[in-house]
């Protein structure tokens, strides 16, 4: 069937024999994340928090990219909306912080619902550009609405709730929220809904023929991704104490794309790994040079040309699995003639 992802058989096998390993790794990493802050300096605590928040952002993107097969270049719109909603609620009202987060998630979700309704009717490059256009719409509205959002000034000096003002406290807070979010995502991806998504990704027409309402499912996924992005944004605002319209700009949408590609979109944790690598790289590089875009651009080119499939695939032992066409399975970027991600709904 030309399925270049792990086939369903593989997946269930993996789940059975490797669930022990999976839980072991998960426990180790989680334990590590708890212990690590005790040995690194305050500066790196900030970095770790950033890794968590951006990692969540990237994973929300991967819900659309890795699991639904569509490239969204406007995910930052929901991230930015979440951040601004939280920022404005904290500074202008006295709504308690947990409610601010929930409200931000809802706002991002509603926006994703409205925009997504139109986006899911397109695929490939049209989907990408429409998401980008909506993203820019949000960006320019925030940018131009000086009286309400502060325009280019952004919102500065956002007061963080008292309990979380300490860098360590905020880190653990973010860790808890992000972990819960990841667990939720894992459950969604491995539910029947998740498998429907994969079916839509792999072959839209066949999925439609077996009676599934493709647009409705894509829209639900789009809204879920938007809500997770909004959650990431609402975590960012009080952490950074500052928001600016750039959070919604298309260049900011490029960051989860980059992280996911770097980490490997075919793996659930790929985007998170990408976040770790990107953030640490970024932080280290800007410490001694201002030419970060040059370095990032070069890395992207190297990854696209030579290391397709991301970091996870680099380290992947060649599994020796052969697909229907006789060629060995590689990363996600293979075009095998039967399926072209640009025309997912096209003829076979």
């Amino acid at each position: 069937m030309g399925d270049i992802w792990y086939s369903d058989e593989d997946l269930s096998n993996m789940m059975k024999t490797n669930s022990f390993r999976l839980y072991l790794w998960f426990a180790l990493i989680f334990g590590g994340s708890i212990v690590l802050p005790l040995v690194v300096g305050v500066f790196w605590i900030h970095v770790l928090t950033e890794i968590l928040i951006l990692g969540l952002f990237a994973m929300s993107f991967n819900l659309l990219f890795g699991y639904m097969g569509q490239l969204s270049f406007g995910q930052a719109a929901y991230y930015g909306l979440g951040a601004y909603a939280t920022a404005m609620m904290i500074t202008k009202t006295s709504i308690p912080f947990p409610l601010c987060i929930i409200a931000s998630i809802l706002i991002a979700g509603i926006c994703a619902l409205i925009f997504g309704y139109f986006c899911v009717r397109l695929v490939g490059i049209y989907f990408a550009i429409l998401t980008m256009a909506f993203g820019q719409l949000v960006y320019y509205i925030i940018f131009q609405w000086y009286e309400f959002t502060g325009g280019d000034n952004g919102i500065q000096g956002i007061p963080c709730p008292m309990l979380l003002r300490n860098a360590y406290s905020y880190y653990y807070f973010a860790l808890i929220i992000v972990t819960i979010a990841i667990i939720l995502m894992w459950r969604i991806i491995n539910s029947s809904f998740g498998y429907t998504m994969r079916a839509i990704r792999d072959n839209c027409n066949r999925t439609r023929f077996i009676g599934i309402n493709v647009e409705k499912h894509m829209l639900i996924n789009f809204v879920i991704a938007g809500m997770f992005a909004g959650l990431a944004g609402s975590l960012w605002a009080p952490f950074n104490r500052s928001v600016s319209p750039d959070l919604a700009n298309w260049t900011h949408s490029g960051i989860p794309v980059f992280m996911t590609i770097m980490g490997g979109p075919s793996n659930f944790f790929g985007p998170l790994i990408g976040s770790v690598v990107y953030t640490i790289l970024f932080t280290s590089v800007i410490g001694f040079t201002e030419y970060w875009p040059l370095i990032m651009g070069t890395i992207i080119i190297l990854m696209v040309l030579f290391f397709r499939g991301g970091i996870v695939e680099i380290f992947n032992k060649k599994t020796g699995q052969i697909d229907m066409n006789g060629s060995r399975k590689e990363g996600i970027f293979i075009q095998n003639g039967l399926r072209d991600s640009a025309t997912n709904k096209g003829a076979e």
Binding site: H46, Y146, G157, I314
Partner: protein
């Protein structure tokens, strides 16, 4: 069968790499780490690079004598905020947490200064502003750690408004337009001018307001629209590279021949760079023109050293950045210590020597009583670039906002939500 999959290897390697995050102990001399956050790229870049030269010059001079208090050599860390508040916040945090700076000088653009002000407030680091001058920084968003040594937008706009009001009467003007880039500084300036004009010349009608986006390069549509409005007067506040574009395109359309034009964002920098392309006869306000202060020994010394090193005259911003470092020096000497808390307490209400003379900080807003220089752009045989004629120097006390209004504005902005109560008592 447990063979290593890709994910496993990544995680193992990642765990090893995380050991690199362990901090290494640093042995120390005690330099004074001074942070500089300026807009080296983006719209503000035009002014920032000269500004940095002013800082470098001052640091060089001070380090020749051993640094602050003769024993703390100054180590400069400069960061580019890229004209984005987000980046400004990150760089300021980076400077404070990683490089452990004790003071930050910056920024150029007001929106970023507001952001950096908050970071410095949170981490209790001295913040000296020598370029950005939106009033919000000292009035509605006051911070006890932020000190401003450049005339703020209220002062500059007031200075301008006074001379405009005179023209309205004598020339019988009826309508005017404004055009300003859509961020804090132009909003602040233009709003103040409009407020003033409403009070002094109520019959002078504001016809239309244009707010092009920051970073705009195409002003033709704005220019043609303004020409179509046929106003008697245009007040503009479009700084930086945007301002260049506006002037060039305005020139193409002959905008300046037909309307009287005043700019709130044309400084000595533009006058020196644009030379012929800058229309003569427009009104502008300067902050620290060297030619108006040559009898001040500090300014004369700066001009001499600057010309020797960089082969040109210092622009409007160099003297203020130079002043910033020297103001820090004088505060540190008064405090006898380099710790930010002591320096901040010493700076309160202090009188300092600057290139513009002896100035004092007002206690209520940490604003120094510096003058604004208004005049008309015209050529001068002494210099290869135009300067001001018919110059009027408006002192700080004449042009800054009265203290009662300051307190009112702070109440309106709910500043008490962001600051501790003892910091707002004067």
């Amino acid at each position: 069968m447990m063979h290593m999959r890709g994910l496993d290897r990544v995680l193992v390697i990642g765990l090893f790499l995380s050991l690199l995050l362990l901090p290494f102990p640093v042995k120390g001399a005690e330099p004074y780490n001074l942070g500089v956050v300026l807009e080296f790229t983006g719209t503000g870049a035009l002014y920032s690079r000269h500004s940095y030269q002013g800082i470098e010059l001052a640091v060089e001079e001070i380090n020749k004598e051993g640094g602050f208090l003769g024993k703390h050599p100054i180590k400069l860390f400069s960061r580019d905020s890229q004209s984005k508040p987000d980046v400004g916040v990150r760089e300021a945090k980076d400077l404070i947490l990683r490089e452990k700076v004790k003071g930050i000088i910056g920024t150029q653009s007001s929106n970023i200064a507001l952001a950096v002000e908050e970071v410095c407030y949170e981490y209790k680091i001295i913040h000296v502003i020598a370029n950005s001058n939106a009033e919000a920084m000292t009035v509605s968003n006051y911070s006890p750690y932020t000190y401003q040594i450049v005339p703020n937008t209220y002062m500059q706009a007031t200075a301008t408004a006074v001379s405009i009001a005179k023209n309205v009467k004598s020339k019988g003007w009826k309508t005017y337009d404004t055009i300003g880039s859509n961020y804090e500084y132009p909003h602040s300036t233009i709003n103040t001018v409009v407020e003033h004009l409403k009070k002094t010349s109520p019959e002078f009608k504001l016809a239309k307001q244009y707010w092009p986006k920051l970073g705009e390069t195409e002003f033709s549509a704005y220019v043609t629209s303004i020409i179509g409005d046929k106003p008697d007067f245009v007040y503009a506040c479009v700084p930086g590279s945007d301002g260049f574009a506006l002037f060039r395109q305005g020139n193409s359309y002959g905008l300046f021949k037909n309307v009287f034009y005043a700019s709130g964002a044309t400084f000595l920098t533009e006058m020196m760079e644009m030379k012929d392309e800058l229309p003569r006869g427009i009104v502008t306000v300067l902050r620290a023109p060297f030619f108006a202060n040559m009898n001040n020994p500090m300014m004369a010394n700066l001009v001499k050293k600057y010309q020797a090193k960089f082969n040109q005259y210092p622009d409007d911003f160099v003297p203020m950045q130079y002043d910033a470092v020297y103001v820090l020096k004088q505060a540190i000497e008064k405090a006898g210590s380099i710790e930010p808390e002591n320096v901040k307490n010493a700076m309160k209400g202090m009188t300092v020597n600057t290139t513009r003379g002896s100035l004092s900080f007002r206690k209520i807003d940490n604003m120094v009583n510096c003058p604004s220089y208004t005049g008309i752009i015209a050529d001068d045989p002494k210099y290869p670039f135009p300067i001001l004629r018919d110059m009027v120097v408006v002192s700080g006390e004449e042009s800054w906002r009265p203290e009662s209004e300051v307190l009112q504005l702070r109440d309106k902005a709910d500043l008490s939500k962001k600051r501790r109560p003892e910091e707002l008592k004067f």
